[in-house]
């Protein structure tokens, strides 16, 4: 199959993720959209790796996964504690620097 199709898919996924980040209010959904964008990047990296015939892109994809995992850990913790204090998961409620 033509590898360019994978790139189209990656762009589509990224666009979905980006629009999700921009239009949704719920922090969890936002988070999921970010993950979607990261994975779209990963797909693009792996595709380029395949197209160019070297492994650099795949290695970077691994790094991205590790960073994404760490981000999820920190980010979810923040969201949980935020939800505890505000009883809301809307990011628009978090527009102030302090309570």
């Amino acid at each position: 199959m033509n590898p360019v199709n994978y790139l189209y898919l990656a762009a589509l996924l990224f666009a979905i993720g980006a629009s999700g980040v921009l239009v949704r209010r719920n922090a969890i959904v936002l988070f999921m959209s970010v993950e979607l964008m990261l994975n779209a990047c990963n797909l693009a990296l792996v595709t380029f790796s395949r197209m160019h015939g070297n492994l650099d892109g795949q290695i970077v994809a691994f790094f991205t996964m590790v960073v994404a995992a760490a981000e999820v850990v920190v980010g979810l913790a923040i969201i949980v504690s935020f939800f505890r204090s505000r009883h809301s998961a809307s990011v628009d409620d978090a527009s102030l620097m302090k309570l």
Binding site: A18, V21, L22, R25, V91, D92, A94, S95, L96, M97
Partner: protein
């Protein structure tokens, strides 16, 4: 002997320093200290005078170099004194009349709790005035000139709790400042022209400078003289200066300080001799002022202001004589000295009257005081006879000489100046007779009972003795000076005497003067002696009303100088607010507005930041792709 010259200035200066810094400890003795130091200065002056008489006329000038004041490369300004016949005359007048007035003030200021300070200022004045007449260069003279201005300011405003006194002193100071600028410019011009401002070199090398430059220097000197001597157009301050205590009016604003302008013109005679244009302006100023002051003096009901108008007019005579050149210098100084005697005496008399009348100055509320104040009456009367030029008294000799010299100027100028002087003599006789009648003759117009009651009484000895001495001087000085023309010959080495030739005989002119005097006295008697004097001043003719307002001098100044000045400052303030401040404030406001708009971007909503980032990334990407494509 030279060493004594410094002491002349030093004694009163020491008095001023001790009295002004000594504090309340000196309250009980300070006035005697001040008087003693003034008297010491007078005694030193007498010793120097006798010493001077013992030498040949050409050898009489003495010099004393004290120290180098400002030595910078070629520029030299020294504190050095020159005592010649002209300075000597002034020294004796200043210290003599000064001592008498110190003595008078002891009684006059007895109930003033700030008497010590008053004497300190008086001594300061004496020191500054002596410095002025003893200086041997124009820069040191300028120092003394400012010193007397300061003393005058302090003493006019001595009762500064009265608003009128405070504003009067400010007015005197400001008007004098205009004249002082003239002196400053004259000194600078001298330095650029002659390279020095010592009297000797400047006055001997006038031939080397162009006439235009000399005229400029002469006119600037005249401006200075006009300010200090209250001559038109800078005369407005003298009437208000009468707010000061009466001894101050007598010493500073009648006998000595106001004649400093005459000293300046006579001292700078060589400059004026070489510039006929400047001389013409001097005589014009003199002639205008002598009539101006006389007319003002006719309309005033305030005894001191009437005398102030008279002072202005008499100094006008001196200015006129000084502008005539070598035929007039000696007579200007002679009239200055006799005027010093009789005008100081008249002011002290006026002070004595006020002392007995609870400081009331309105002559319309006097009348018939000769019974209550015999000594004041006699001394004032002698001063009165002297000033109107009663034959045989001092004013007669000096004024007659000036009128003669004015006619001797020659041509149409001589006739105009001579007639002005004669007319002035008639008006002088008129207003002085008016003062005399209103004060000492006629019915008693003051209230005798009620809260406003007056109890006229003779003044204490410390006040009457100086009045008696000055009255003797007013009677005798002219005769002594005229004996073999002794005064004129005494001044000859300094002022270079020339005899004028009037177009008619001296006897005719004298007769004319006497007729003018009789007309003046007769008119005044017809108006005030024969008819009762209303206590409330009648409305009077247009001229009378104008003269009461100093011939609209203040109104003129207000319209021509004060108002435009106000508009100018208002305009400048407007400019400052709107343009200068406007630019600064506008810049700040525009930055403030801009940052206010920028702040809205930082709204705290995470998704709007995300949009910015996203937009930015898209823009960068698009830009990169675009660059690639191109």
């Amino acid at each position: 002997m030279e060493a004594l010259i410094g002491l002349l200035v030093g004694a009163p200066l020491l008095g001023a320093a001790v009295l002004l810094c000594g504090g309340r400890r000196l309250d009980r003795t300070g006035h005697w200290l001040g008087t003693a130091l003034a008297a010491a200065s007078f005694v030193i002056g007498l010793i120097l005078f006798i010493d001077m008489l013992g030498r040949e006329a050409e050898q009489r000038a003495m010099h004393q170099h004290l120290f180098s004041w400002i030595p910078v490369a070629d520029f030299r300004a020294d504190v050095a004194f020159q005592l010649d016949q002209l300075s000597m005359t002034f020294v004796l007048l200043i210290t003599g009349v000064g001592t008498l007035i110190h003595l008078y003030s002891v009684g006059y200021m007895e109930h003033d709790e700030r008497r010590r300070r008053f004497f300190g200022y008086l001594n300061l004045f004496l020191a500054a005035m002596l410095l002025l007449v003893l200086a041997d260069n124009y820069l040191l003279l300028y120092f003394g000139w400012e010193g007397v201005g300061l003393a005058s300011y302090l003493l006019i405003g001595f009762w500064q709790h009265k608003t009128s006194a405070a504003t009067a002193s400010k007015k005197a100071f400001l008007v004098n400042r205009v004249g002082d600028i003239g002196l400053a410019i004259a000194v600078m011009l001298m330095f650029t022209t002659f390279g020095t401002f010592t009297f000797g070199p400047v006055l001997e090398s006038t031939g080397a400078a162009g006439e235009g430059k000399l005229t400029a220097i002469g006119l600037m000197l005249l401006l200075a003289a006009c300010g200090k001597s209250a001559q038109v157009p800078l005369q407005s301050w003298l009437g208000d200066a009468m707010e000061g205590p009466t001894p101050v009016s007598a010493l500073i604003h009648a006998a000595t300080m106001v004649t400093a302008g005459i000293y300046l013109v006579v001292r700078s005679g060589a400059i004026f001799n070489a510039s006929p244009d400047a001389q013409l302006v001097v005589v014009t100023v003199g002639a205008v002022t002598l009539l101006y002051g006389a007319i003002v003096g006719c309309a005033k009901d305030d005894i001191k202001k009437a005398l102030a108008g008279s002072t202005m007019s008499q100094i006008g005579y001196m200015m006129l004589a000084a502008g005539l050149g070598p035929i007039g210098y000696a007579f200007a100084i002679m009239h200055l000295v006799t005027h010093g005697f009789f005008k100081a005496g008249l002011f002290l008399g006026a002070g004595s009257v006020m002392h007995g009348m609870n400081d009331d100055v309105d002559m319309r509320k006097y009348g018939g005081l000769r019974k209550y104040m015999p000594v004041t009456f006699v001394t004032f009367g002698l001063g009165y006879l002297a000033i109107i030029g009663f034959p045989g008294l001092s004013g007669f000799f000096s004024k007659d000489m000036i009128i003669e010299a004015a006619f001797a100027k020659g041509g149409a100028q001589g006739w105009i100046l001579g007639s002005c002087a004669l007319l002035g003599a008639a008006i002088t006789a008129y207003y002085m007779t008016r003062v005399m009648i209103l004060t000492f003759f006629g019915p008693e117009r003051w209230s005798k009972e009620g809260p406003d009651a007056r109890h006229p009484h003779e003044s204490p000895k410390s006040m009457t003795i100086p009045m008696i001495v000055l009255a003797v001087g007013s009677v005798g000085a002219g005769f002594v000076f005229d004996l073999n023309e002794s005064f004129v010959h005494w001044l000859e080495p300094v002022t270079a005497l020339e005899h004028g030739h009037p177009p008619m005989s001296a006897m005719t002119i004298t007769a004319g003067t006497v007729v003018a005097l009789l007309i003046g006295v007769g008119t005044a008697w017809a108006q005030y002696g024969r008819r009762p004097v209303p206590v409330q001043a009648p409305r009077g003719s247009l001229l009378t009303r104008a003269a009461r307002r100093d011939l609209l001098q203040d109104d003129f100044n207000h319209v021509v100088l004060v108002k435009p000045g106000e508009y100018l400052t208002r305009g400048l303030v407007y400019l400052d607010h709107k343009v200068v401040d406007g630019f600064v404030n506008g810049t700040a406001a525009s930055f403030g507005g801009l940052s206010g708009r920028m702040r809205r971007v930082q709204n705290g909503f995470v998704r709007s930041y995300a949009v910015s980032m996203f937009g930015g990334a898209v823009l960068l990407l698009a830009a990169t792709l675009l660059m690639r494509a191109v």
